[in-house]
């Protein structure tokens, strides 16, 4: 076996984290992006700035604040333990929460652009054809914004795959539970196990590359069909 069992587990945790985070991001990000694309609220840009923060903030800074707020004395951790839940820091759930914050701009921004480019007209047409607002969203907005959804999903997924700083801060590198591939690679290199670092890095590289090939291929097919 080229990859050790621990490495395989780290890869598995990484994929699981990316999948769960992407799902959560799409569920939260879609209404948020829709609101941002439609709202006339004058302080909307403040929300947009907050969402974009992880783009420029060092991941360790974000991770540090998340660690504080997820801990037993932090606002989120405190609330959870008050409701009788287990502490979130150093757990998989904590990682998901961190990843959602960290990858939010990569999901919200493509969706917001896709929604904005549809414009109001198709929705007005659909309304005159008796479609209710929910009906309009699922039969007009979702299919028309399909390239945006693909881009958002894949970018969110890929960005979570490559996460390091946030995961390290709030995950604590516990093998089998919170150790992800990027940290496992770091550990290998630190221990001068270059061979294993190669295999793990190569797997991530190949996977990420294939993922991006898929996105660009899908988006290209979509635009070519619509001259």
């Amino acid at each position: 076996m080229i990859l050790s069992e621990q490495d395989l587990t780290a890869l598995f945790v990484t994929l699981k984290l990316a999948s769960v985070s992407t799902l959560v991001l799409l569920i939260i990000g879609t209404p948020l992006a829709w609101w941002l694309s439609k709202s006339q609220w004058r302080f909307k840009y403040v929300i947009e700035a907050i969402i974009a923060l992880p783009l420029i903030l060092p991941p360790t800074v974000l991770g540090f604040y998340l660690l504080i707020s997820l801990g037993p004395n932090g606002p989120i951790g405190g609330l959870v333990s008050m409701l009788g839940g287990a502490p979130l820091a150093f757990t998989f759930t904590g990682l998901v929460i961190g990843s959602v914050f960290y990858s939010m701009p990569f999901v919200v921004q493509p969706l917001q652009n896709a929604f904005a480019s549809i414009g109001n007209r198709p929705l007005e047409v659909a309304a005159t054809l008796r479609a209710s607002p929910i009906d309009r969203f699922f039969t007009i907005v979702v299919p028309m914004a399909k390239p945006g959804f693909i881009t958002a999903g894949v970018l969110g997924f890929a960005h979570t795959l490559g996460e390091f700083g946030v995961v390290l801060m709030i995950g604590g590198n516990i093998p089998g539970s919170t150790q992800v591939a990027s940290i496992a690679i770091y550990d290998h290199v630190e221990a001068l196990e270059y061979g294993q670092a190669h295999w793990l890095s190569g797997s991530l590289l190949l996977f990420s590359f294939l993922l991006l090939i898929f996105v660009y291929g899908a988006n290209r097919r979509y635009t070519v069909a619509k001259p």
């Binding site: 007209r121 198709p122 007005e124 047409v125 659909a126 309304a127 005159t128 054809l129 008796r130 479609a131 209710s132 607002p133 009906d135 039969t139 007009i140 299919p143 028309m144 399909k146 619509k226 001259p227």
Partner: protein, 355 residues
């Protein structure tokens, strides 16, 4: 099913301020220069704009008042926008079915076949919107609006985005739509030609205010409105076919004040025909001419006369209760000593009459 409405809506360019009743049958054109609030009025009727304290009653149903505001998807309107606005991700068939699938009333679903036939798009059903020409797209958009079996059709300059050729190609379809369906049609336009050809009623809008409303033929011939004073001023007369002479290709059309001979293809006896007679093609004689090439000589009484300038005068001639506008030179009017109440003859060349 008449449409009573009262709206006040502030916009940058105008204050829309209307209070009127739109007739239950036929085509009502909302006519006026751009920026006069035509589109806003139509959108407010469809519920796409909200006018505070507005009132809208369609038939017995209140669509908007102090307590009610029916959202657009609960209003049974068919709306055709200036650009075709087909759904790009659906083919023609699916575009048309979009509205049909959402009709609650099963009995209205048969309209679908009728409309695809009426607009001649049966051979386009499998295509995607971007594979169609502009005129075809607009025809599909009209069919889509009709297939949802609306109780009112709202058209916002549906021909404005089309070239002259496509416009000419689509007009006959619109005419057959109006004749076939028995629902009120509101037609926004700034084209005098389209209005003259299609509209039964007219609502003249200027800077958001209604300047006049009434039957198109009356408003076109009213000398106190600007329509009768434009260069291409014309009279619209509704006639019915009395006979057709195939040897000469001439139709005899009768109206309350007399009859016209018109060059045309065969017309079914008794059918209704709308004539457009340009005011500058109507001349006046004091005595009935004989030995003339002009076939249409109609006894009339001179009504109102309004001078355009030093050279030209517009005369409103009454053939019984039908008005006929004539634009003649001031010199002729002076030489013939024309005055209100005189009995004279109006002459129109057959070839000058447009059907």
């Amino acid at each position: 099913m008449s449409i009573a409405l009262r709206f006040r809506l502030q916009r940058d360019e105008f204050l829309l301020n209307v209070d009127t009743v739109i007739p239950e049958t036929g085509v009502t054109a909302i006519f006026g220069p751009s920026g006069s609030g035509k589109t806003t009025l139509l959108r407010t009727i469809a519920g796409l704009e909200y006018a505070e304290d507005g009132y809208l009653k369609v038939g017995d149903i209140i669509w908007q008042d102090d307590r009610t505001f029916l959202p657009t998807h609960h209003r049974k309107v068919g709306y055709v926008f200036q650009e075709p606005s087909l759904f790009d991700h659906l083919n023609v068939q699916a575009n048309i079915n979009y509205g049909v699938r959402r009709i609650k009333d099963e009995s209205s679903k048969h309209v679908l076949q009728q409309t695809t036939k009426l607009l001649d798009i049966e051979q386009l059903l499998k295509r995607m919107p971007w594979q169609l020409s502009g005129g075809e797209q607009q025809r599909v958009a009209i069919a889509r609006a009709l297939a949802a079996s609306p109780s009112m059709l709202l058209l916002d300059e549906p021909l404005a985005a089309l070239g002259d050729e496509q416009k000419a190609a689509i007009l006959p379809y619109l005419e057959s739509v109006y004749k076939t369906l028995n629902i009120p049609v509101l037609y926004v336009s700034h084209s005098r030609d389209e209005v003259a050809r299609l509209a039964d009623h007219l609502l003249l809008l200027e800077s958001g205010e209604i300047k006049a409303c009434g039957p198109t033929s009356e408003l076109f011939a009213a000398l106190d409105l600007p329509l009768a004073h434009q260069a291409n001023a014309e009279t619209i007369i509704t006639t019915s076919v009395l006979g057709y002479d195939k040897d000469y290709g001439l139709a005899t059309l009768v109206f309350s004040g007399g009859q016209f001979s018109v060059v045309s293809g065969p017309l079914p006896l008794g059918s209704r025909v709308r004539l457009q007679v340009l005011a500058r093609d109507v001349s006046i004689t004091l005595e009935q001419q004989t030995n003339t090439s002009i076939l249409n000589i109609i006894p009339v009484t001179i009504g109102q006369m309004v001078k355009q300038n030093n050279a030209q005068i517009t005369v409103r001639l009454m053939a019984d209760d039908t008005a006929l506008l004539s634009k003649i030179s001031c010199k002729s009017a002076y030489d013939l000593n024309l005055k209100e109440g005189d009995k004279v003859y109006a002459q129109v060349k057959t070839a000058a009459i447009l059907i």
